[in-house]
C-alpha cells in the first residue's frame, strides 16, 4: 500500500501513531502529482515548496503532541476558487490569471488552523460555470477512469485529484451540481451542504443565492471529518445562520433500520441512462436489505428546475461578474484603449470565455427592463413551488435516493459547443440546489462493464435530506458504503 492511497482517516491515524511523518505523506503526494497529473491536468498550480515547509512545521508540532485535529499535517489541494493568501487564485479565467489574494477564505483559514498542508490549486470551469472543466482557461481535466472523457464540473479538478490519490481530500463549490456531478463521474464522495452551512467568505461568488462550499473525499467518514472543520456561522458571511454544528462523525456506523427512503419517480424517467438507473435502484435494494423502508414519492415540479436555474443563476452571475472590469479586478486589456468604456469592453471580451459571455448575456437580458417580471420574478416564484415539493416529500420520508448525473462521464468535446446539452448534465442536481437542501454523492456502481473493450465508468447515487440534515445524510451514506466495495476500487493510472 502506497502512502498516497490511504484514506484521510487512515493517514491521520498513521500520523498520530507515528507510523510515518507529515513530510513523508507530503513527499508521497507530491511524487504522485508529478507522476499522474501531467496526464490528468487536475492541479493547475502545485505549491511544492510551501507544502514541504508546512509539512515540516506540522511534524514539529506532531512530535510535541500538540495536535488535536485529524486534518493536521494532511496534504490537500483546493479548487482554484478559494482565496489562498499569497498563492495565485485564478477561477481558471484569463481575466484574473495572475491574481494573488491578500487574504485566505474563511474555510482556508479554518483548514490552515487545523494543520492543512496545501499542495496546490485545482482545475475548474471558468468561474464555476460548466459541467466538464472544458471551460477552464487551463484546459480540461481528464477523467482518471478514462482519459478520453471529462471529469465533470465545475469542480472537476478536485474530484479527479481525490479519485487519483493526488489529494487526501479537497474542497469544491456546488451551485447547481458542481460538487456532486464530478464526484459521481470520478467515483469519489462529494457533499453539497445546506445553503449557508459553510462560509463563502473569500470564495469567488457565482450565484449568491445558490452557492455552497463542501468537501470531496475518498470515504464518507473522511467527508464528515472535513465538514466538522469547515461548517458553522461566520461573521464575514451573513448568510450563515447560527445553527449548531454537531460532530458529523458521531452517528457513522449506526443502523439505517426503519429509515424511510423516498424514491422520486421524476428522477428515473426519460433521458436517464439505463445503466445509471439500474445501479441506483440496486443500491436502494441494498438499503431495503439493511432494514430501511423504501417508498415511491413524487416531486412534480422537478422538470422546471433547470429553467428556474438558468434564469436565476445567470442573473446573479452577471451582477457578480460586473466587478471584473480591469480596474477593480483583472489587469486590463493587452492593447491600448482610447476611453474608459473601450477599456471595459476590451478587458471583458479578452478575459472571459464563451460560456461566461453567454451566461452574462442571459443574466443581463432577464434582468433588463420589461423582462424582469417575465423571467427573473417568474423563476423565483417557480423556485418556491420546487421548495414546496421537497417540504411535502420530507413529511413522508427521511431522505430521498436518486441518481446524481443522468449519464456517466461523457467524451471530451462531446457537449462543449452545445450549451443546452451541457446544462442537462445537471438536471438531477439542480432541483436540490433550488431548495437549498443538502445532498451527498457516493459511488454505487460502474457503467460499461458489459461491453468488451469499454472502460468502466463510475456511477453515483445522490442522497437528499431536509435543510441542515448533513448528519443524517452522512450516516445513511456510511451504511451503504460499509455494505459495499465500490469506494475501494481505484482507477488504473
Amino acid at each position: 500500500m502506497m502512502l498516497y492511497s490511504l484514506t484521510l482517516a487512515e493517514a491521520a491515524e498513521g500520523l498520530k501513531s507515528k507510523k510515518f511523518s507529515s513530510s513523508e505523506l507530503t513527499e508521497a503526494v507530491l511524487a504522485r502529482i508529478k507522476e499522474v497529473n501531467p496526464g490528468l491536468n487536475a492541479y493547475i498550480t502545485v505549491t511544492e515548496d510551501l507544502a514541504k515547509e508546512s509539512a515540516k512545521m506540522a511534524d514539529e508540532k506532531l512530535a510535541k503532541g500538540e495536535v488535536a485535529s485529524p486534518l493536521f499535517g494532511i496534504p490537500a489541494g483546493l479548487k482554484d476558487i478559494f482565496n489562498t493568501k499569497g498563492v495565485r487564485t485564478t477561477c481558471c479565467s484569463n481575466i484574473i490569471r495572475d491574481f494573488v489574494p491578500p487574504y485566505d477564505a474563511t474555510v482556508v483559514e479554518k483548514l490552515k488552523n487545523s494543520g492543512l498542508v496545501l499542495t496546490g490549486k485545482l482545475n475548474m470551469d471558468e468561474f464555476a460555470c460548466g459541467a466538464s472543466t472544458e471551460h477552464s482557461c487551463f484546459g480540461v481535466t481528464a477523467n482518471p477512469w478514462d482519459k478520453e472523457r471529462v471529469s465533470g464540473g465545475s469542480s472537476g479538478g478536485s474530484a479527479a485529484a481525490v479519485a487519483a490519490d493526488m489529494s487526501f481530500y479537497s474542497l469544491g463549490t456546488d451551485t447547481g451540481g458542481s460538487i456532486r456531478q464530478p464526484a459521481s463521474l470520478c467515483g469519489c464522495v462529494g457533499l453539497k451542504v445546506t445553503y449557508g452551512r459553510v462560509s463563502r467568505s473569500g470564495v469567488t461568488a457565482m450565484a449568491s443565492s445558490w452557492d455552497t462550499v463542501g468537501p470531496f473525499a475518498k470515504t464518507v467518514r473522511d467527508a464528515a471529518i472535513v465538514l466538522n472543520v469547515i461548517a458553522g456561522a461566520d461573521k464575514r458571511d451573513s448568510t450563515t445562520p447560527p445553527v449548531a454544528v454537531p460532530d458529523y462523525t458521531k452517528n457513522l456506523g449506526e443502523s439505517v433500520k426503519g429509515l424511510k427512503i423516498g424514491v422520486p419517480k421524476e428522477y428515473f424517467g426519460e433521458g436517464i441512462d439505463p445503466e445509471v438507473s439500474s445501479a441506483v435502484r440496486a443500491a436502494i435494494k441494498e438499503y431495503e436489505k439493511m432494514g430501511a423502508v423504501v417508498k415511491e414519492v413524487s416531486l412534480p415540479y422537478t422538470k422546471y428546475a433547470l429553467a428556474v436555474y438558468y434564469i436565476a443563476m445567470p442573473a446573479e452571475l452577471s451582477a457578480n461578474l460586473a466587478r471584473f472590469d480591469g480596474i477593480r479586478f483583472g489587469s486590463g486589456p493587452k492593447g491600448k484603449t482610447e476611453n474608459l468604456v473601450d477599456y471595459y469592453f476590451a478587458t471583458r471580451s479578452e478575459g472571459f470565455g464563451d460560456e461566461i459571455k453567454r451566461r452574462i448575456m442571459i443574466g443581463t437580458y432577464v434582468l433588463s427592463a420589461g423582462y424582469y417580471d417575465a423571467y427573473y420574478r417568474k423563476a423565483q416564484k417557480v423556485r418556491t413551488l420546487i421548495i414546496e415539493d421537497f417540504k411535502k416529500a420530507f413529511k413522508d420520508v427521511d431522505v430521498l435516493a436518486t441518481p446524481v448525473s443522468p449519464f456517466p462521464a461523457f467524451k471530451i468535446g462531446e457537449k462543449k459547443d452545445d450549451p443546452l446539452a451541457m446544462y442537462l448534465a445537471d438536471i438531477l442536481t439542480i432541483p436540490v440546489s433550488c431548495a437549498g437542501v443538502p445532498a451527498i454523492s457516493i459511488p454505487c456502481g460502474f457503467a460499461g462493464s458489459g461491453e468488451s473493450g469499454a472502460k468502466k465508468l463510475p456511477i453515483g447515487m445522490q442522497l437528499i435530506g431536509p435543510q441542515f440534515s448533513e448528519d443524517l445524510l452522512l450516516k445513511t451514506a456510511a451504511a451503504y458504503e460499509q455494505a459495499t466495495e465500490w469506494h475501494k476500487l481505484k482507477p488504473a493510472l
Binding site: K85, G86, D98, V100, P101, P102, Y103, T194, Y195, G196, S209, S238, T239, P241, Y301, K303, Y304, L306, A307, V308, Y310, I311, D325, I327, S331, G332, K336, T337, E338, N339, L340, V341, Y343, Y344, F345, A346, R348, S349, K357, R358, I360, M361, I362, G363, T364, Y365, Y375, K378, A379, Q380, K381, V382, R383, T384, L385, I387, L420, Y423, G436, Q467
Partner: protein, 96 residues
C-alpha cells in the same frame, strides 16, 4: 428568438465586445437556451411568493465597527503591477 441586433445590444449593456461571427453564434445559442425557459409559462404562479433566500434569514446586521482587514504591505505584496512610492501604478486607462 434573440436576433443578432438584440444580442449586440445586450452585449453592449454587459460591456462585452463581440467579434466576427460571435453575434450570430450567440444569437443561435441564446435563443436555444431561452426557448427552453419558456416552459415556465405553463406554471400557474399567480398566488405564489417569489423566493430569493432559502433559509429564511432576514436583515442580518452587525455592529458598525471599523476593522482593518489587510495591511498595506500585504496588499502591495500581491500585485504584479509596478510599485511606486508605496502605491500600485495601474495601467493608463485613457491613452489619448
Amino acid at each position: 428568438m434573440l436576433n443578432t441586433d438584440q444580442v449586440a445590444h445586450i452585449a453592449k449593456l454587459a460591456r462585452l465586445g463581440l467579434k466576427g461571427d460571435e453575434g450570430e453564434k450567440f444569437s443561435r445559442q441564446l435563443s436555444d437556451i431561452l426557448g427552453h425557459m419558456e416552459m415556465l409559462n405553463e406554471v400557474d404562479t399567480d398566488k405564489v411568493e417569489p423566493t430569493s433566500q432559502v433559509t429564511g434569514l432576514i436583515n442580518v446586521t452587525r455592529e458598525d465597527k471599523e476593522e482593518r482587514f489587510c495591511q498595506k504591505e500585504e496588499l502591495l505584496a500581491c500585485t504584479s503591477l509596478p510599485i511606486e512610492k508605496e502605491q500600485i501604478r495601474v495601467k493608463p486607462v485613457i491613452t489619448q
